[in-house]
């Protein structure tokens, strides 16, 4: 009887030991899983955001691929005409001639070229027998040379001043020519003085150039 009691006590101790071992192992597994799951949930949430952003990018790229087909055909229709938007020939390469793409790039150049602007102004100002008294401006070539083509270019003003002399009708005609020019000239200050036989027109104006647009793929940081 005493021997059976001792055996039972040993068995009770063993059972208690097993309880401790099971509890410890289960606690370890549970805590490990909890920590690992928490990390994985964070990672899954982040990857979900990345997947969402990539889906948007794929959708955008797919739309762009579709759009390029239309864009290309529209461009070809725009360029391959017998007459350009100014009514000139599309085959010659002189002033007011050339295809529509050339006309557009002449109207809003994609590179900064102040001497070319001065030449254009010179021919515009002298077109009606007006006498040029002054053309001035600051050639910003060095600062602008750092501006490269980008995905979102913006127009850059090219200010200039000019003074011409002529009769009333010629001056009036010149102002209209500035307005009708396909190259945008925005007048800021205009001074007309003198008498109708010999008027002087001084203008402070600006025209523009806009760096070219390029197709570029960027990257975005997803947080």
């Amino acid at each position: 009887m005493a021997k059976t009691g001792i055996t039972k006590r040993i068995l009770i101790d063993k059972a208690n030991s097993r309880v401790v071992v099971f509890t410890s192992v289960a606690a370890f597994i549970f805590i490990f899983s909890l920590v690992a799951t928490k990390t994985l949930i964070s990672q899954a949430a982040y990857q979900n955001r990345v997947i969402g952003a990539k889906k948007v990018a794929v959708h955008q790229l797919n739309d762009n691929v579709q759009a390029t087909t239309k864009l290309r055909s529209s461009y070809e229709a725009f360029v391959n005409t017998s007459q350009n938007v100014l009514g000139g020939s599309t085959t010659d390469d002189t002033s007011q001639q050339g295809d529509n793409a050339k006309i557009i790039l002449d109207a809003l150049p994609s590179t900064y070229d102040f001497p070319a602007l001065a030449t254009s102004l010179d021919s515009l100002l002298t077109s009606d027998g007006l006498e040029i008294q002054n053309i001035s401006g600051i050639d910003d070539e060095i600062a602008q040379s750092g501006t490269t083509a980008s995905g979102t270019p913006a127009p850059v003003p090219m200010p200039f001043q000019a003074t011409v002399a002529g009769d009333y009708d010629s001056i009036k005609k010149l102002v209209s020519q500035f307005e009708r020019s396909i190259r945008p000239f925005q007048m800021q200050k205009v001074t007309i003085s003198g008498t109708s036989g010999k008027l002087s027109l001084s203008v402070e104006a600006q025209t523009f150039y806009q760096p070219g647009k390029t197709f570029s793929l960027g990257s975005k940081v997803v947080k």
Binding site: R9, P155, S176, S196
Partner: protein
């Protein structure tokens, strides 16, 4: 009814210990299994499902990018398209300077002559420097400027004043003529290319020989 527990203490303790062991074992296995199951599900989601999705999306991005890069002259086409869009906006922002001649012709009395006209389209100001036979003509000129209104194709009432803050900044009179210098602000809408503007000036004004030979009018 009285019940007697005839099991020895040690036997009772042993039974309880066995029951506790079973319960703890069951709960431990269940908790471990559940947590391991969640862990494995998350592991599969992150390392298998999401990774496959990312690889798939990366492949599509690369494929579409290559398609776009292979389009001939794409940069030139985009540049022309962008310049064309910007040109419209830049032309819309131009002031219609040629209206100046019509306006001045309309508002200047026939007896007056303008020597210098300065317009600042940024500040919307105008300085008119000229001469007239009498100071009365100069007074009429400033009064007419004050009374000038305009109508546009969107606002046909014609009740809006074209000019404001009209000041006879300086004047002088000699035995042949009166000289004047008028400063004023103008409503920028009258030079807006988006509007067709009709200026309404008081009767009797206009028809001036603008920039005529100074002092020749009496």
């Amino acid at each position: 009814m009285i019940q007697f527990n005839l099991l020895p203490d040690v036997k009772q303790q042993y039974v309880k210990a066995r029951q506790m062991q079973r319960l703890v074992t069951l709960v431990s296995i269940a908790a471990s299994a559940a947590s391991l199951f969640i862990l494995i599900v998350m592991l599969v989601t992150v390392d298998v499902v999401q990774r496959a999705s990312l690889n798939d999306l990366n492949g599509n991005i690369k494929k579409y990018s290559n398609q776009l890069k292979s389009v001939k002259d794409l940069d030139k086409i985009l540049t022309v398209q962008n310049q064309l869009n910007t040109l419209t906006d830049l032309h819309d922002k131009k002031v219609v300077t040629s209206r100046l001649f019509d306006y001045i012709s309309q508002v200047t009395p026939s007896s007056a002559s303008i020597r210098q006209l300065s317009v600042d389209f940024g500040a919307n100001t105008m300085i008119i420097d000229g001469s007239a036979p009498t100071l009365e003509s100069v007074n009429t000129f400033t009064d007419d400027l004050k009374a000038t209104t305009y109508a546009t194709d969107t606002d046909k009432t014609g009740a809006t004043k074209a000019f404001s803050s009209i000041v006879l900044a300086s004047f002088s009179r000699d035995n042949t003529k009166a000289s004047f210098n008028i400063t004023l602000n103008f409503d920028p809408a009258i030079f807006d290319s988006g509007n067709t503007v009709t200026l309404t000036v008081p009767k009797g004004t206009g028809g001036a020989d603008l920039f005529g030979d100074q002092g020749s009018k009496q």
